[in-house]
Amino acid sequence: MLIYSLKRLALAVLIVSAAMFLLFTMIYLIPGDPASVALGPRATDAMREALLIKMGLDQPVWIQFWNFFTNAWQGNLGNEILSNRPVADVVMEQLPWTLALIAGGMVWSIALGIPLGCWTAVKRGGLADRAIGVLSIAVIAVPSFVVAIYALLIFAVSLRWLPAIGAGDPGNLGDQLLHLVLPSLAVGLGWVGYIARMVRASMLEVLEAPHIRTARAFGLTDRQITYRYALSIAILPTVTLLGVGIGQMLSSAVFAEIVFARPGVGKLVYDAILTRNYPLVSGAVLVTTALFIAINLIADLVVGYLDPRVRSRL
């Protein structure tokens, strides 16, 4: 297990490095030099020259990359243009909000998706199964920003059950959680459908397995068989799927943050693009990429932990 974890960690580092290389290449290939973008049209040649040297852009490209690369691994993503603060600081300030949003989306999707999937598998073919099947497909098909807007209109504006915008009073955890309910629903609702379908399909497969027949032949109760003997196996593909699905949740988070006017990395990138704050955009993209890969890594380790076959094979 330790060796497996180390291997996976090394792979993750490699992937992040590759992402850095890609990002660097993209920035490098963008037409126009960053100094003129940063300084605006009224800058003199001398000012541009000075900034280029300050940013190290007069160096050969491979040295530029090496500097970018080593700096990035040390958490130095350069300074942003508007306030000249370190990009890393700005992104890290916003990151917890996005993490909370995604965690909320996960809670929704797991808390609803797994029981629904399980239940429909056990009651397959029934009315409830079919109704939930149709609903699942529906929520998968609806884009998350539509969910966000409707959730906002229905639960916040019309019914006034939940707060509409913002992230809640700083320091008031209850209020912040309340503000998290609708945006995280917008992020997670589609995943409720995905997970319900996925769990149902793998449950149906597992319930046909010979070892389930053995469990029945030993007289175990239906509860025991469904939850302990079948679900513990049927859940494994879902964990992997969730790890990959984080990428999609991150992009939903952008919309949710904009619609609900919440702070977060998505909102940050959105604003940064509007103001052409390129260092901030690229820094935020790099951080989200690393986050995505880290969560994937965690998902793989969780599967390894849950599945003894994987655990011992690696």
């Binding site: 027949r213 032949a217 076959r309 011992s312």
Partner: protein, 318 residues
């Protein structure tokens, strides 16, 4: 006294293009402390028979007629809780393929623990009992074996564990569905000996299903010969192997003279094919492959019985 008495059991599956009658008018007795062997070609309904006894038929299968008496009750009429009670406690089963018979994500200890949920014992006692069972089936280093997972064992070891689990609750009836066909021939003898030892130790009866005629001859007290979902002949091992009445049984034994002692692992092949179970013909089911087929065989033969030797064949009719 019979532990298990199956009478006129008929089972069918709803399948594409009509229903498929997998068992027709099957009657079998399993006396106390006896080992009863069931032989028959692949697809003759052996697994369906077991699934009917355990009431674990797939959703499309149903018991159409007949009764299955076990310990004073008719299992065909038993409700879910009753069946759950019987399974694993009074009737235990060892299945054919040990590779996938145990849950892959639960440790052996957990699985053995879960089966004992009705025993009323404490956790420590249950674990001690699991350990004792593993020792009895001769798993090397049982303490560490308990902590391990099924994939860490070989097929033979897994089957030993499955047998330990089946015997743990000291059932009245042990059902074994070809417990050694998926294993090496070299392991077969050891596993069979183990089952026989445990069976006589616990004093249970056994319904032993196999293709292996040699094994059946060696192990079983009584033998049931099945063909296309019907019992063609049944009797003591001596009656079946030394004085077979049904042409089908004769053919099975003929294919290899001295088959009683030879280690024939697979049933000999007989020319012709099993009839289509969706369109059962009138009369004797073996007719299409029988060298003695006559006009009278188009009518269903009655069951003839003498000294516990039962047969369905017109050639034996008085």
């Amino acid at each position: 006294m019979n532990v298990l008495e199956i009478r006129h059991l008929s089972v069918s599956f709803a399948a594409e293009g009509g229903s498929l009658q997998a068992l027709k008018d099957v009657s079998i007795d399993v006396p106390e402390h006896c080992i009863v062997g069931v032989v028959g070609e692949s697809g003759c309904g052996k697994s369906t028979l077991i699934n009917s006894i355990l009431r674990l038929l797939p959703d499309n299968g149903s018991i159409d007629a007949g009764s299955i008496h076990f310990e004073e009750q008719d299992l065909t009429q038993a409700g879910r809780p009753k069946m759950q009670d019987i399974r694993g406690q009074r009737i235990s089963t060892v299945f054919q393929d040990p590779m996938d018979a145990l849950n892959p994500v639960l440790s052996i200890a957990d699985q053995m623990l879960h089966i004992q949920y009705r025993s009323g014992l404490g956790r420590k006692e249950k674990n001690a009992r699991s350990l004792d069972m593993l020792r009895r089936v001769r798993i090397p280093d049982p303490e560490s074996a308990l902590k391990r997972y099924p994939h860490e064992f070989s097929g033979g070891m897994k089957q030993r564990i499955a047998i330990a689990m089946a015997m743990m609750m000291e059932p009245a009836l042990l059902i074994a569905d070809e417990p050694t066909t998926a294993l090496d021939a070299t392991l077969e003898v050891a596993i069979i000996k183990l089952m026989k030892d445990l069976q006589s130790h616990i004093g249970c009866s056994m319904l032993f299903i196999s293709h292996h005629l040699g094994l059946i001859a060696e192990l079983c007290d009584q033998v049931v010969v099945m063909y296309a979902g019907e019992v063609l002949e049944r009797g003591t091992a001596r009656q079946i192997f030394h004085n077979p009445w049904h042409p089908y049984t004769e053919r099975l034994l003929d294919c290899d003279p001295g088959s009683q002692s030879s280690r024939m692992r697979h049933l000999p092949t007989i020319p012709g094919e099993i009839p289509d179970l969706k369109k059962r013909q009138e009369g004797c089911i073996f007719r299409s492959r029988c060298q003695f087929c006559e006009d009278i065989c188009h009518a269903m033969p009655d069951e003839i019985q003498s000294n516990g030797h039962h047969v369905r064949c017109h050639r034996r009719s008085p």
